[in-house]
Every structure is written in C-alpha cells, then in structure tokens.
Amino acid sequence: MLQLKDLHVAINGKEILKGIDLTVNPGEVHAIMGPNGSGKSTLASVLAGRDEYEITAGEIIYSGQDLLELGPEERAREGVFLAFQYPVEIPGVSNTYFLRTALNAIRSHRGEDTIDAMDFLTLVRDKAKLLKLDEALLKRPVNHGFSGGEKKRNEIFQMAVLEPRLAILDETDSGLDIDALKIVADGVNSLRNNERAFVVITHYQRLLNYIKPDFVHVLMDGKIVRSGGRELALQLEDQGYEWLETAPAPVGA
C-alpha cells in the first residue's frame, strides 16, 4: 500500500531524512519510534503533503501512485489521513460543518453521493460516542478552546468519520493522561481491519501497550536504524535510545 524508497528530505537546505525505506501493507500497524529531532514529524508532514519540505531523492508510492505528485487534499481523498501532533484551532468554522465538507469532498472523489445534514448528524453521533467526545464539541469551532486531550480525541474522531485507508498518527499520545490515552487507543483499535494500515509515530512506547503494532522501526538522525516486532519497543522502554547509537544493526534487519 505504501512504499518509501530511499527517501531524502531537506528543509531550508538542511537534510532531515537521509534515506528511508519502508513498506506498509494493508492491515498492518507500523510504529515509528525515535528520540526528539530524529525526523519523525518530518516524515509525517511529508506523507500528509506539507510543501515546505524539499524531497531531494527517493520516492513514495501509495497504492501504485506517486504520492508526491498529489496535493494534500488529493491525498486525503485517496484515503490518507494524518492525525496532527498539534491540531490547528480554526475559530468560526464549526466542527460538524468542517467535517461534513471534508467527508463530501472525499465521497464526491470516490463517485459516491454526498451526505445530507441529517444523515451526517446520525453518523457523527455514533462516532463521537466511540471517542467519548462530548456532543457539544461537535458544534463548537474546530479545536477552538479544546483541551489538549479533546484535540487529540477530535483527530481520531475525524479519522473515524473519514475512514481512511492509511492513517498516520503523529505523536497522538503526547500530552494525554492515561484515561485519554486509552480512549484514543480504543478508537484506533476499533478502526483496525484487514484493509486499513496505520503508521504510529511516537517517542514513548506507552501508546504501544494499547495500540499493538505489527512492526516497530527506530528512526535516528534521519535513518531507520533498526526494525523489529513489538519486543523492540519494550527494549527501548528499558534501555532508552542510546544503546542504538553504538550497536551495529543486526544483519538482515
């Protein structure tokens, strides 16, 4: 579904990602872990289509298409979703209006009928329950005046409504207390299926206790220095990232 091939990315002339190779298949959950400044958020931003980054080499293939040729809205319509690390506050645009406009843009792209206000309301009520999101928040402006936890739940709520094929979670656990973390994780888990893939970007392994990944990759200084199963995340929790700076990558990883 998603293939990154020798991806090099720079911003303002400074190279951040220095050759990333990654293959994600439908139904898989990949965790990307790494210390601050390793390039995790750059990877998320590049996948979502932020244009301030320069792709200096390599490619990203998504469902047979060159992802880098698509604008952010086209990626979204093709089923890519980014849960933001810092969701943006948009005063004056109600959450429901925003999300219905988004859903209808995606449905039109797929050649489906647009959804009317009534049916949409029924849909979002169900999804809001899933994320234990107060219905009052749906009428409020997007993320405006939301607490940190509400913002993150709102991201997963949007994901539940838009039903992407590839979801990228950028530090969705940051700033969440344990209860909010569980709600977010339950939301994500309920969306897992054989068709949908997840890339979960996180600094801490805590989130991975609740969203159990199939693969764990460690990103350091712009490169994936090690890949493994869930046990790699646990090892990182015990030992931190330092040991990886010196240890040679095992052959074949």
Binding site: R50, E73, A76, R77, F84, I90, T101, A102, L103, H109
Partner: protein, 433 residues
C-alpha cells in the same frame, strides 16, 4: 477644494419648501459647508482617503419625486419599514404597521410639520458641523429622513427597517438622509438601517443622531451595499445616558468610498456601548471607519471589534479614538481592529488613539493586518477540502465573528450569504487575472 456642481445643489435645496425648523438648519449647514469646503488629503483625518471622484463628479439634486424602482429584494417582511429613494420618503413602499402607544416611526418632513417635540429638541443638536464637512452638506440639503421615538418604558419588539436606496436615477445625485432616534428611559428598540443601490452614482451622506436615555437599549445594524460608483460618507452621533446600552454592527460591502464617522458619548454612569464593524473590499474600493468613544462618566464600558477583508487594490482605514475624561473612573474599554489581506496590493491602516485623563481605568487595544493562516489552510486541505474552498471557509469564518453578533437571524443569514457571494466573486476575478 470645491466642486461647482455642489454649489448648485445647495442653491436648489435652500429654496425647497420645508418647515421653518428644517429651513433654519439648512441655512446653518450651508454656511458651514461653504466655509469648510470639501476636505483634502493635507488634513490629518483625510490623509488616506481617496477624494478625487467626489471632487470631479458632476452631482445633481435628487429628483422632486422619488424614482419608481422595485425595492422588494431589500424589504424585511416582519419589520416596521420606512423607505427612502435618493433621500426622499417613499410612502408607497413604506409600511409602518402597528406600534405601541406613543411610539413614533415617521418621516422627518411629516414629524417636523406636525411640530414634533422630539424633533424640535434633538434634531441637529448632536451633530457637530464644526469639523465634519459631509455632515454639514447633509444639513445644508436636508430634505427628509427618519424619526424614531420610543417613549419611556416602551419596548418595540419587531425591528424597524430604514431602507435608503441611493442613485437609481440617471444622473449622479446627492443623497442626504437624516436619522433621528430617541429611545426614552427604560425603552428598547432594534433598528436595521440599509443603504443600498445597484446602479447609478450617488454622493450619499447620511447623518444619524441617536439619543439613548437612562437604562434604554438600542440595537442598531447598519448595512451599506450601494452601487460600485457610490461615495458614501456617513456621520453617526450617539449620546448615552445612565445605565443605557447601545450595540451596533456596521457591515460595509458596496460603494467606491465608504467612510463612517462615529462618535459615541458615554455621558451617564454605567453605560455600555458595543461597536462592531465588518468591511469587505475589492478592486479600488475604500472603507474608512473613524470612531471616537468619549467616556465622560464613571463605570462605563465600551467595546469595539472592527474586522476587514481586503482584496484587489482596495484600502481600509481604521481610526479608533478612546477618550477617558478625568471623572470617568473605572472605565473598561476594549478595541480590536483586525484586517485580513487577500492580495498583494490591498492596504489596511490602523490607528488606535487613546487619550486617558482618569487614573483607574482599563483600556486595551490591538490591531492586526495579516494573511490567512496557512497552517489552518493546510489542516483543512489535509482532510480533503480543496484549496479554494479552504480559503473561502476561513475567510467566511473571519467575517463570521462580527456577523454572528447581529441580533436578527434573517438579516444575519442574508448578510452571510452576501459575504459569501462577494468572496466567490473575488476568487473568480483572481482566477481570471
């Protein structure tokens, strides 16, 4: 600076029949206007204002009888309505309907002819002609206008609509409506004032005088949506008594030059004024807002929120002057002017001016001139919303903060639609450019 055609308009007005009260006022206005002349850009208050069209257009007096045009698109079905065309009262289109006992909603000619106490006492008493050439011009050519008197303790529930249609005739016309609103003690009223016109050219210079007596509440919505060649220079003066409330939203969409001079005097203790504005300009349009809030008594509050959306090579000037006199302790005053610039050639000037002579006050002000938040645009796009749609949604939301304060739901929805139509036009003209 002069414009010879205006002298002829003044001459005609001076000889037009009217009650003595109005004739006397015209005389004062004429003397003052002839002394002041048209303003020029060497004057500080007019430094940024484009006046060339006013200097060079050949203006005529309005016709003797109002033109017949279809006003239904602007009529509000649920309001007490007075309609004026080129400043002339149109009884055929007006429909006042039932009012509470003692309340007056009338045209000025009729009210003056019937020797109205309210008119005698207040008309011309608030507006300073000293330094306001267009208020002087209005007074010099005074023909008709609206008089609203809400007696003490009376609440007029339905809104009152004052509809002024400018410039339907073939010649550029001076249109000088006058508005007098007197809200007696503990009364309340909601007024929507529309200045509209789709064609022709007018020099539209309305003057409003508004007296809000103790504990009265006046809600006032002003919509300016005149033809693209109309010059609109309005003066409004509000005097507020103890514990009174005055809240206005001014929405400016049309016209070539739109300039609003607003002065609010908070004379009684515990009065509260809220002044909100929205201007949306494109092409060579200019929208100027000059507000003076004068706190003269303790414990008064004033709030200003003026927002502008500027496209094309349009410009906007906001001058917000807050004067807090020595006795006006515990004044709480806020002012915010925010401008959203949609093109490289649009310019917004913002000049807050605070003159504070009391020592225990809270006055805050802020102004911004900026572009759309690109992070917000990206956020919307990342959910599948196209770039133009995202920009339109954010711009509309920016306007919404002011529109949402309009207390009349139908009008709010209408204006929202008008703003969205105009934004769509702006987008289209950008694509074609």
């Amino acid at each position: 600076m002069t414009n010879a055609s205006l002298s002829k308009v003044l001459e005609t007005a001076a000889t037009a029949p009217a009650p003595v009260l109005l004739r006397n006022l015209r005389g004062q206005g004429r003397t003052r206007f002839e002394a002041l002349g048209l303003p020029n850009r060497r004057q500080e208050d007019w430094r940024f204002t484009r006046l060339k069209a006013i200097e060079e257009t050949e203006f005529s007096s309005p016709p003797l009888v109002p033109s017949r045009i279809d006003v239904t698109p602007w009529r509000r079905p649920d309001a007490h309505t007075l309609v004026f065309i080129d400043g002339l009262f149109s009884p055929d289109f007006s429909e006042v309907g039932d009012l509470p006992d003692g309340a007056v909603v009338s045209n000025l000619m009729l009210a003056s002819a019937s020797n109205s106490e309210v008119v005698k006492r207040h008309l011309g008493s608030l507006t300073s002609l000293e330094d306001q050439p267009f208020a002087a011009l209005n007074t010099a050519v005074l023909a008709d206008g609206a008089v609203i008197h809400v007696p003490a303790g009376v609440h007029i529930v339905r809104p009152i609509q004052l509809l002024f249609v400018a410039g339907p005739s073939n010649r550029p016309t001076v249109c000088a409506p006058r508005i007098l609103i007197v809200a007696g003690e503990e009364s309340s009223v909601t007024i929507e004032e529309h200045h509209v016109g789709t064609k022709g050219t007018a020099l539209s210079c309305p003057v409003s005088e508004i007296v809000v007596e103790a504990r009265a509440a006046v809600r006032h919505v002003i919509v300016q949506d005149e033809s693209p060649t109309t010059q609109h220079l309005a003066s409004r003066h509000v005097v507020m008594g103890r514990g009174s409330r005055y809240a206005s939203q001014s929405v400016s969409l049309g016209g070539a030059l739109v300039r609003n001079e607003i002065r609010v005097d908070l004379v009684g203790e515990d009065a509260e004024a809220s002044l909100d504005g929205l201007y949306l300009t494109d092409g060579n349009q200019q929208a100027d807002s000059h507000l003076t809030l004068r706190h003269e008594a303790p414990h008064c509050r004033s709030h200003q929120l003026y927002k502008g959306i500027l496209a094309g090579s349009s410009r906007a000037v906001f001058t917000g002057r807050i004067v807090v006199e020595q006795d006006a302790q515990k004044t709480d005053s806020t002012q915010s002017n925010r401008n959203l610039i949609l093109s490289d050639d649009a310019v917004a000037n913002s000049n807050p001016q605070l003159e504070i002579f009391a020592d225990d006050v809270r006055c805050t002000h802020g102004s911004t001139v900026g572009r759309l938040d690109e992070d917000a645009v990206f956020y919307l796009r990342s959910r599948g919303i196209g770039r133009d749609e995202a920009r339109r949604m954010l711009t509309q939301a920016f306007a919404g903060e002011v529109l949402d304060r309009i207390p009349l739901e139908d009008l709010r929805d209408d204006l929202s639609r008008r703003v969205s139509e105009k934004l769509a036009l702006i987008e289209r003209s950008k694509d074609e450019a």
